[in-house]
Amino acid sequence: MRLELVKRPQHSALFSALSPFIALALTLVAGAIVFMFLGKNPVEALYYFFIDPLRETWSLHELAVKAAPLILIGVGLSICYLSNNWNIGAEGQFIIGAIVGAILPVMYPDLQSWIVLPLMLLMGILGGAAYAAIPAFLKVRFNTNEILTSLMLVYVAQLFLDWIVRGPWRNPAGFNFPETRTFHDYAILPEIWPASGRAHWGFVFALLAALALWFLLSRTLKGFEVKVIGQSPRAGRFAGFSRNRMVIFAFLVSGGLAGLAGISEVSGAIGQLRPSISPGYGFTAIIVAFLGRLNPLGIIAAGLILALTYLGGEAAQISLGVTDKVARSFQGMLLFFVLACDMLIHYRIRVTRPALATKAERAAEEPAHA
């Protein structure tokens, strides 16, 4: 017996729309099974994971804090993936954005003025974009595989951050802890509504970026170009769109947004650079982009859902005593089910039997019965 994937002649529009929800439901079921094997009551576990974090205002703020980088990076990645550029290195662009954005408060702490924060954000965007330009340039010039180059650059960025906070940028008054000095007040991204919680303006940036890119994709010629080149490169060439310019554009946009997410996280949520500033936002945002069907508005919703898995992971760690790796496995399962649902919407599984005898045998048996 052999399994084959056969393309469906037409796919159901209804199931295409439902696919993320089906994937979510399947993730919950699979998650319940995982908790059962961990010896926990699955209902209680899912409650702590997905409901409990939503019950209080401060934790809704935490949700926004976690969702902000996911949405910012996710919408940028949607431009990449729609145009067939597989940028897997948003985590590295996030880190470099944070480092470049932190130059002012770390190296020039005496420069205290309202101009510092806008400059930091700008430098964060430029840093992320410049770092993303490396795989883009390599792809255009040498036809390298951007999946590999962008991914490898993540490790370069992580090690660079590690070195810089232990070495040149270590806080002189920090008792040798591997941290930079804490940002001064002018370098802190303010909270949206300080009275109730920690959510900072990064969340607003994320919503604005999603709206802007949604408009770009759905209404403008540039968005049309992104989709044509992604879906049908030859038709794109016939239209006169340049594949190479699109590679550069997609990487700069997604790198810039990842950089903005990085500096927003550091100046809004953390307040200094540390050896680790991201719990894998750049990778989780890949799931966000696909769960949101590469549509910026869908990505807002998907970003909130994935943010919840982070919060749920922390909550479950405290209330149930399970490892925080459970959150990672939830994210992995979610991506798996999203992709599997999409696959089965476009293809069906056919079972083929190796022996050609089956039909003939049946035919031979029939007269005997008759």
Partner: protein, 522 residues
Amino acid sequence: MQATLEDPVAPLLEARGLTKIFGTLRACDQVDLKISRGEIHALLGENGAGKSTLVKMLFGALEPAEGVILWQGKPAAISSPREARRLGIGMVFQHFSLFDALTAAENIMLSLDDPAPASAVTTRARELSKAYGLPIDPDAHVGDLSVGERQRIEIIRCLLQNPELIILDEPTSVLTPQEADKLFETLEKLKLEGRSILYISHRLEEVKRICDRATVLRQGRVVAECDPRKETASSLARMMVGDEVQPVVRDKPAAQREVLLEVSNLSRKASHPFAVPLSGINLSVHAGEILGIAGVAGNGQGELFEAVSGEVIQDRPDTVRIRGKDAGKLDISGRRLMGAAFVPEERLGHAAAPAMTLSQNLLLSRYRTDARAFLSRFGIIRNGLVAQAAKRISAAMDVRKSAEDPEASALSGGNLQKFVIGRELDRQPLVMIVNQPTWGVDAGAAARIRQGLIDLARNGSAVLVISQDLDELFEICDAIAVMHGGSLSAPIPIAEATYEKVGLLMGGAEPGHAATPLAEAV
């Protein structure tokens, strides 16, 4: 021949009431078909008439919703192509399924249901090739072979299974007239051995020449069964289309006026191992003129189209001149802005993005030339106006579609082709370059497209038509040049052109008339 025509008790294959439904469309509706032993049976019909659906059911690639297939009088459930081959049904597809990088023998081995040693396959292939007049070299790499040779591999591959019924899908669409003649000899030989052939074609003259019976399909139903030899081409066409096909009307060639498109000394290296290099191509098209480029597929037509359209840019600006101005360094958008329009060979994936709607596909080639109409500030698309224009084009070209603005891939080949041609005609371009304007398009749509091209030329535009269909070129062109091995012959004025002359050039014969005064463009 007489001996084999004796009607045996049961026909070799009989289909009764075959029905296949896709959604609401009855692609095949109660189709009856009877193929006797030792006959060449034509299956005629426009695109979308249900020919391929019917054949796929016979070959086990689709399952009928209703009806039965009788093989030698007994009901047969043909559930897969493998099952069909086992019964004795072989098929040669229109689009070949060969690997360029493998040899002929290796390609043949890959297709065998039961593995056999390489040497045995090679020997057997050589025998068959000799017996049926299908010369091939089993050790040659497919990438180096002509289309005609590739087709022979497909036929030999099919014959190795020793089929009693051979299904041929539009076999001559890629052949020169001389190659087609050879194929017909092979078919006659097969027929004399008592094998049957189901011959799918839209070329009525061929069907009249070689087929014993014909079944005509229209909109999924059998509308006629006849002896094509007793019919005329126009009576067959009438059966297929349901009413009279409008003959294409052509004026006397306009007095030669200014040159609107000029290509001089265009050479191009092969961009990949299976591409054809171009060498020293010269051509010029005047206002009001249609120049045809004939040639067997794969002789550099695609490469020429890419170069002239600006998908590939030339080294020297004066290699391509449009309306007297250098265009060699401009990209496709730049050349469009100079007044040129292009229709490539492949509809889906090149001329149109499959998953995009018709109006989006309209924007695809016209966002620059019609920027003022279709875009507002900041590149925001005026969807309403684009949709209106798409509607206008669909109406002008009689594009039949299932929804207001369907995805390109939802249209049948002929209707999409009408749209992508209409998209350019709608602009009234001064220079129009079309590659295979009616390839795989039904007779009604083809007539409409050809008439559109003629009208465009009559209004003073220069039209360059690259086509494998000689009938088409003879019907609409003022002169025909022939492409072979990446070079282009001098144009032959239509008054002097004959099928034989053009056919010889297509086969690579030295152009005996190269010294005519027409070879002026240098």
